[in-house]
Amino acid sequence: MKNQRASRIWPVLKYGAALCGLIVLALALIGAGRAEPEPEVVDPEELELEGVQLRLGVETGHALGDPIKPYVEEWEEMTGASVEITEIPFAEIYPRFMTSFHAGTDDFDVVIILPTWLGDMSQFLVPLDDLIEGDDMAAWDDVLPICQDIVTWQDETLIMPLDCDLFMSFYNRTAFLDDDHRAAFQDIYGYELAPPETWDQYYDIAEYFTEEDPDLYGAMESMSRGTQTFWTGLSRMVGYVSQGEPGALFFDPEDMTPLINSPGHVRALEEWVRVVDVGAPDILEFDVGDIREQFPLNTGALALDWASIGFIPTDRENQELIGFNPIPGPTEVYDHDTGQWIELDEPNRVPYMAALGWGAAIPVTSNEQEAAWQLIRYLSSPEISLKLVSMRDNYDPATGYQPFRYSHFENVDGWVESEWDRDRAEEYLEATFESLTADFVKPDLRIPGAFEYLDELDAGLTAALAGEMEPQEALDEVAERWDAITNRKGRDVQLQMYRESIGLD
């Protein structure tokens, strides 16, 4: 009897199991099938790439992903290859690529990355030196030397630059040229209202506009956690502790002792914290995106940001609003060796290459390295990269690509063609070029674990800015955590990498 009943429940189970199987099968089919058909464009001249499929990983959205799309499409049509673009949120790019590299999976043929990650990523990337050598399209000699240096790791060029980053300060030209403001400022502060050269002037100006002009916020800077606050902070700190000598910003190049809590760093942070009171009321929630959206609306007097012209409003209106100014500096610099402050005649304005600049690289796991190289040399070529950096086909106010070639700086006509006002473009290019070719330019940290070191710094800085910790206390904690990272990764290895990355060995 029981047997019989059981035999009748069997069919149900069998159907159930079959159904399950079908679901899994259907899923597998869906998963295997591609969501979109590939375009088939035949170009008789470059048949060798016909049918080649490349996968390119880039940050999502307006700043980096969108701007390259028109040129990638152009290249697809020229070559017959197809490119699948994976867009990744900023906070996940480094982890995503690292997961893929470590796991040895063949997920990407081209990755658009920051050189600051080279310490961790170098072993997974194809050296490009032989390919670059004598390649007209790559036009290596056209790339500014400093922009070449940052993509080189242990004598190998691993990234083809698409960008060369630099922190700058910006001022509201309309407000600065206003006669009433000029007179009032002169009255109160006893000197002329002009683009700030020192951090003291920067503070005065911000204070002035906060108090005297209800429509303008004194300053706009990135100050929130998990954005790029540490880069703004380092851009400020660098002038307090370095006159261009290597190894004064992060670690002691003799023994990897963190310098981040030195009196110089602490004073820089103390002075930075004061800006909170004269900045936008919600400045503690700002990241650079907020600056780029709001400053062009004529709501701020001063701002700190990358020199991205993305800073300029979408429709190229209000171009006359934004003034470019190399980053201000302090008038004293701290000397780590003697433990003394040195008085200077001129403000110590050290341009900081925060993040160093996006560029394209080829993972060693790629099976299409030749085609990948064809794509990135095309994107980085003088002709195409000029369109990228001048936002020729992109009207979004957030491009992440800045000029990095001599030809970008020389070819002002190209910028005018991208609908820039000639004078504005010239001022912008001049300020940028001056900074990039300055005697002291400070590159960003590139050793293994850079991401982690900088994230800890981000925590310390945001805690101090928000008033949750005193600057000294916050930076002491950062130093302690940096030491822990160094110890875990091996002090000797880290020291050697650090010395190499700043050109000491």
Binding site: K2, N3, Q123, M223, D455, L465, E468
Partner: protein, 290 residues
């Protein structure tokens, strides 16, 4: 007889296989990781480090802070969710006008993606452009730095969690309430008991087992709080609002310090089990007595 046994097994087998397959290997793997360090495959081989990861946790201020925050998140959000959920369930139980529409409205938040909810709340609590300070100003209050001061930022995260998961409490408590036998209630009412007395002395005791179950379920989920913190504060300012999973996520999936991340995750797991097991045993007893 043979086939009954087969049937019996077949019913349970798929669930057991899937859960074992997708949890036992990862659990053992993580356990091994927590006693060492490993670089995800290439290059660096697995390195045994004994208890050093756990020892490091003890000295780690960021870990202690994250653990403390997690406890706060769990205790405050879950108890508020329970009280509100119970109040709403009781309110609807009293058959107000429009009850059927209300109850659908009330379960909306739990159906929405926590990531989207996080952004929704972050947008509302932006100190200058958000709605929260706008209403405060309308009521004559000073604007508040919601997202950039530790306790305010934590309270925004908690509000988002409460907004999202009170419906979960409501839903289950309401379902249980609808099944409460009416005769004891009616009898008490006949004896002249007030509505509140009925609630306090008759309904609440009957809801006890289900209350414990939903509180435990929510607590276990709340310990894993990640999406809302990730979106609303990203742990900031500093690391002051970081939760344990957020810290674990940073260490494991951002810094790739896999061993340490596994140790963090395992302590979390132990805490969760420590919460869950006594409650489960308690429920078993309750159930077997009634």
């Amino acid at each position: 007889m043979q086939k009954t046994a087969l049937t019996r097994r077949t019913l349970l087998l798929p669930a057991v296989v899937i859960l074992l397959g997708l949890s036992i290997f990862p659990l053992l793997f993580s356990l091994a990781l927590s006693f060492g360090d490993w670089g995800l495959g290439r290059g660096v081989p697995y390195e045994w480090r004994g208890l050093s990861n756990y020892a490091a946790l003890l000295a780690d201020g960021r870990y202690r802070n994250a653990a403390f925050n997690t406890v706060l998140y769990v205790v405050i959000t879950v108890s508020v969710q329970y009280i509100l959920g119970l109040a709403l369930a009781w309110g609807l139980f009293l058959r107000p006008p429009g009850g059927r529409i209300f109850r659908v409205f009330f379960i909306f938040p739990m159906m929405l993606a926590p990531v989207a909810v996080g952004y929704m709340w972050r947008l509302m609590f932006q100190s200058r452009i958000g709605a929260a300070n706008f209403f405060l100003a309308a009521l004559g209050f000073e604007p508040v730095r919601w997202l950039s001061a530790r306790w305010f930022a934590m309270s925004v995260v908690m509000m988002a969690e409460i907004w999202q998961w009170t419906p979960f409490m409501f839903l289950f408590l309401y379902a249980a309430l609808m099944n409460v036998p009416t005769s004891p209630i009616d009898a008490a009412l006949v004896d002249g008991a007030s509505g509140f007395q009925v609630f306090r002395h008759i309904v609440l005791p009957m809801l006890m087992p289900i209350s414990i179950a939903v509180i435990m379920l929510r607590a276990v989920e709340a310990v894993k709080i990640l999406d809302t913190v990730y979106v609303i504060t990203h742990g900031g300012p500093g690391n002051t609002t970081e939760s344990l999973t957020m810290y674990g996520y940073n260490v494991g999936l951002q810094y790739f310090n896999l061993g340490y991340a596994a140790a963090i995750a395992y302590t979390l797991l132990l805490v969760v089990v420590a919460i869950a097991v006594p409650v489960i045993i308690f429920i078993k007893k309750e159930v077997s007595y009634t």
